[in-house]
């Protein structure tokens, strides 16, 4: 049951990300749903699995973003490493904490990516990337764990 729920949830998150990238003009919504999958893997899995997942999810994010390949691979790996290290000390029962770790870690990861875009492509820092996307993504993560059933199936309790 747990496994099926996780597969369904992760599939919906991937589908949601494809939808956002396709209809960004109409939705005007900037979310990184793939990052929620990465947060889950980072807090629940071992070190090697976390790094591998972070690199893969980062490279997929790079492809979907259409910018320099490897930037999000780099930044997501760093964020996932710190999440993995902190996971033993994080109280995942607290919803506020879940929201904070998703938002802050994503903001940190996007800040690193933003530095690459700034120094290499000379793009200016986007508020969307560093503030709005982490907050909205954190909110979506919070909504998911608000359900006690979701929390139970994700072993986050």
């Amino acid at each position: 049951m747990n496994r099926k729920f996780k597969i369904l949830l992760f599939s919906l998150l991937v589908l949601g990300q494809i939808i956002i990238h396709r209809y960004i003009r109409q939705l005007n919504l900037n979310l990184d749903l793939l990052y929620l999958i990465l947060v889950y893997i980072a807090v629940k899995s071992g070190f090697y699995k976390t790094l591998l997942s972070a690199t893969i999810i980062g490279l997929v994010t790079d492809y979907l973003s259409g910018n320099i390949f490897g930037v999000f691979g780099f930044s997501r790996t760093i964020a996932a490493y710190f999440l993995n290290e902190m996971s033993m000390r994080i109280d995942l029962k607290s919803n506020l904490f879940v929201f904070m770790i998703i938002s802050l870690s994503l903001a940190f990861s996007n800040l690193i990516a933003g530095l690459f875009f700034y120094f290499i492509l000379e793009y200016s820092f986007q508020l969307n990337l560093i503030v709005i996307q982490p907050l909205l993504t954190g909110l979506v993560g919070l909504i998911i764990v608000l359900s006690s059933k979701a929390k139970k199936n994700l072993d986050v309790y």
């Binding site: 396709r22 090697y48 490279l59 492809y63 973003s65 259409g66 910018n67 390949f69 490897g70 793009y123």
Partner: protein, 269 residues
């Protein structure tokens, strides 16, 4: 929770190695100016089928809803008219070029059979004026530097790497990389370099101050950059700022306020 109990030093070494690999990927992209790399194409080949499958599913459902539930016959007529409209717009663009520069066109090899229709499947959500991905790739004859127009024959961008079998990336004209040789006003032909800055408008550079430019003037490609064919509509002037010896002109591309769901890819020989 199943966790390995690894020493801290090993974790740091593995982390640094993985980050170094990512940095190598980044640096190859930068040095090779985003030329084809194996990793990009591998990820593209894995991810783009899902995007295309999703897009085709949505198109199928909405097409059938419109066809069978709403306005059955009207939809058929509308669809046929839309096809004719796209074809006529493109023919009109070719004819305008013929009238304007007959000799140049005789040397041009842009033909209708090199005209590929494509659908948008993804936009960069962080920089939506930077690039998009379309559902046509090498299988459909797409190669780098092909020009992309919207359904009205107006300039959208050009094909850049990565190009997979079934998808390719389009760098929009609002992207700050590169530039376009362009004329303001087809009759006067005030020439300059049009560059993007990741916003809704592009800037016109190297335009001398004493030439009169009005808001609403049309901007078209000049063809002098040897990349974009001439006389393709780009946008219109929305702001003029006089400086000491030059003018700062802002151009809003036509495609910004229109749907870019359906695009046309043409070769530029």
């Amino acid at each position: 929770m199943n966790r390995e109990d690894l020493p801290a030093e090993r974790k740091v070494i593995v982390l640094v190695a993985v980050l170094f690999l990512n940095l190598i990927l980044v640096s190859t992209n930068v040095v090779l100016k985003n030329e084809k790399t194996m990793f990009q194409n591998v990820v593209g080949v894995i991810v783009s089928p899902f995007q295309i499958a999703f897009q085709k599913s949505v198109d199928y459902v909405s097409h059938n809803l419109r066809r069978y539930v709403f306005l059955k016959n009207t939809f058929v007529q509308y669809r046929d008219l839309k096809k004719d409209y796209t074809r006529l717009k493109f023919e009109n663009y070719l004819l305008k070029r013929k009238v304007a520069e007959k000799e140049f066109l005789e040397n041009l090899k842009v033909k209708r059979d090199k005209f590929v229709k494509a659908d948008l499947i993804s936009i960069d959500r962080n920089f939506p004026f930077s690039s998009i991905v379309i559902d046509k790739g090498t299988r459909d004859g797409i190669i780098k530097d092909m020009i992309v127009l919207n359904g009205n024959g107006e300039l959208v961008g050009k094909i850049v790497e990565p190009i997979t079998l079934i998808s390719s990336k389009v760098r929009l004209i609002t992207n700050p990389t590169g530039g376009i040789g362009a004329y303001i006003d087809e009759k006067i032909k005030l020439e300059g370099l049009l560059t993007g800055n990741n916003t809704r408008v592009c800037n016109f550079k190297y335009l001398i101050e004493n030439k009169l430019v009005r808001i609403g003037d049309q901007v078209i490609t000049s063809g002098t950059d040897q990349i974009f064919p001439p006389y393709i509509p780009i946008g219109k002037v929305v702001k003029v700022e006089k400086e000491y010896l030059t003018q700062k002109i802002e151009i809003e591309p036509y495609f910004i306020n229109q749907s870019i769901k359906q695009l046309i890819v043409i070769a530029n020989d």
